[in-house]
């Protein structure tokens, strides 16, 4: 078991944004989290990554409870994420963005960096190569030296994924990665997520693009008003009347 979300709740003032949500993610699994706008999906990510403390319940990653663990530590433990509203380091190049993502996997401290020790140079070299590979993996290998904010939206999304992967996580949280992509671009994304899984990483995917979700997820968790209203395989969920009522709507066709 990679991750266990155990009866987690989050309250904002009078609003229960996440209410007693409970599910697990197994290694190499792709779990989709879906639900209407404002259901609490992004908040759930914030709780898992330690950005917000849960009001009650706890998140356990690889048998370690994450209560009180700082976000950067959680990343170091092996959970990486992307953001719904892209948050790149705008002035840095694409490659540098990925290098920042690799920060917690590097060791060189202040003085080796200043004196350029052999170990530091070797590490730097290796990480740069790996970063370039990641950029190529997500399909923006050519843009390594482009300033991140000058990339078009879709490519920025991919860059975020590359940055997240750079920390060599075992669990990747993707918050609406397909937003702003057209169908063929979404297909590329689907291939990319499959590749991530092939690297033996678990993925939690928030997405409103049902084509993508249904195609790729092993299991779905459905939230509504903060509560988990259903959990199951895409097939089961697709036919769940409550989910159709709250979220999917009747198939247009």
């Amino acid at each position: 078991m990679t991750l266990a979300v155990q009866h987690v709740s989050k309250q904002f003032g009078g609003l229960m944004a996440v209410a007693d949500v409970d599910f697990v993610v197994n290694p190499g699994e792709i779990v989709g989290v879906i639900g209407p706008n404002g259901a609490g999906k992004t908040t759930l990510f914030n709780l898992i990554t330690g950005v917000l403390p849960p009001s009650s319940g706890q998140v356990v990653y690889k048998a370690q409870p994450l209560a009180g663990v700082k976000p950067h530590k959680i990343t170091e433990l092996g959970i990486a994420r992307t953001f719904q509203n892209i948050r790149l380091f705008g002035h840095m190049t694409a490659l540098e963005n990925v290098l920042v993502g690799a920060h917690c996997r590097m060791k060189a401290g202040l003085w080796p960096g200043i004196f350029r020790s052999a170990a530091q140079r070797a590490e730097e070299q290796a990480v740069r190569e790996k970063a370039q590979e990641l950029l190529t993996l997500v399909g923006i290998g050519e843009e390594a030296d482009t300033i991140a904010s000058n990339l078009p939206y879709g490519k920025q999304r991919r860059l975020e994924i590359a940055r997240a992967l750079a920390s060599d996580p075992d669990l990747v949280l993707l918050d609406e990665p397909a937003a702003g992509m057209n169908e063929s671009e979404t297909e590329d994304l689907q291939a990319l997520i499959k590749k991530i899984r092939a690297m033996d990483k678990a993925v939690i995917l928030i997405e409103h693009d049902m084509g993508l979700v249904m195609n790729i997820c092993d299991r779905l968790v459905v939230l509504n008003f903060g509560k988990k209203i259903a959990e199951g395989t895409p097939g089961e969920i697709q036919d769940n009347p409550e989910v159709i009522e709250a979220y999917l709507g009747k198939e247009e066709a």
């Binding site: 992004t42 908040t43 914030n46 950005v51 917000l52 953001f83 719904q84 509203n85 948050r87 918050d175």
Partner: protein, 293 residues
């Protein structure tokens, strides 16, 4: 003595509030700290003094003249020093430096124009002192307190409830978005800067009257205090400016009255550091939005 010191503190504090209100207003709309506000305040005081001495128009006339001066200076500052920066997307530092430049310019201009010596207003009826059961309070102190409280209420209402006020707030958040909503942001900004500067100019006259010393470097001294209040109360918050000012005034006075006067300034700033430790956004500042999306 306690009550006398309390009165001392509140009256000192209300002058701080008066200055901080202008700071806060400009911060509220432009998201910059106008380092020249103190100097505009000082110019207002001098022009008010000139008018009072030479034109014999009384307090109201002096106030009006000072406010007009403030507004004109504010306009010039906006057009010459702030607007050119806004065209490009730059860090918050550029306008900070630019207004520091304006403040240095204005201070040395005042030294040239008015000389370095401290001057004071001719005695007017407002220097009258009341004695309430041994507690002495002067008319001008009462006027200042009343004006700053009144201003606070008016400004708050104006920003929160009126269309213009809301446009100002929208502009302060994001100029591009405000433009997209059809707001003439240029006009809004000029207006606010002029208004805040007019308030600064008027404050100059009142504070000059209260303390009886007007000189070119008073802008820095008072401006520095205003800055402290701005932070204490929370950036861009009108109520914060008012309460923060009073708090600082009382704290300063009490540090002298019941502590050691030589640590007065340290107490004021120590208090700020301490408070920020507990509430990093100031007394009334809004918490930064948590979480990422």
């Amino acid at each position: 003595m306690f009550w006398q010191q309390m009165v001392n503190g509140i009256t000192l504090g209300s002058t701080y509030s008066l200055i901080a209100l202008g700071y806060t207003l400009i911060f509220g709309v432009l998201n910059i700290v106008n380092m020249a506000h103190g100097e505009i305040f000082m110019f207002g005081a001098f022009v008010g003094l000139m008018i009072a001495v030479h034109a014999n128009v009384g307090l109201a006339g002096a106030l009006l003249a000072a406010m007009a001066t403030g507004a004109v200076l504010g306009y010039l500052m906006e057009v010459l020093a702030l607007r050119p920066l806004r065209r490009r997307k730059v860090s918050e530092l550029a306008p900070l430096i630019s207004t520091i430049g304006v403040s240095i310019f204005l201070e040395s201009l005042a030294l040239r124009l008015f000389g370095a010596e401290a001057q004071s207003f001719p005695p007017v009826s407002s220097t009258q002192v009341f004695d309430l059961a041994g507690v002495k309070i002067s008319m001008v102190q009462i006027i200042i307190l009343a004006i700053s409280c009144g201003l606070m209420l008016v400004l708050r209402f104006w920003l929160e409830k009126t269309k213009l006020g809301k446009s100002i707030r929208a502009t302060s958040e994001n100029i591009e978005t405000a433009n997209l909503l059809g707001i003439d942001t240029k006009k809004i900004i000029v207006l606010t800067v002029m208004l805040a500067s007019a308030l600064g100019g008027g404050a100059g006259v009142l504070v000059g009257l209260a303390f009886n010393a007007i000189e070119p470097t008073m802008g820095i001294t008072m401006g520095f205090k205003g800055l402290a209040v701005l932070i204490l109360g929370g950036l861009g918050n009108i109520t914060g400016a008012m309460v923060g000012g009073l708090l600082l005034g009382v704290a300063e006075i009490f540090s002298v009255a019941y502590g050691v006067s030589s640590y007065r300034d340290a107490v004021a700033f120590g208090m700020i550091i301490l408070l920020l430790f507990l509430r990093p956004e100031g007394l009334f500042g809004s918490k930064e939005q948590q979480g990422g999306r």
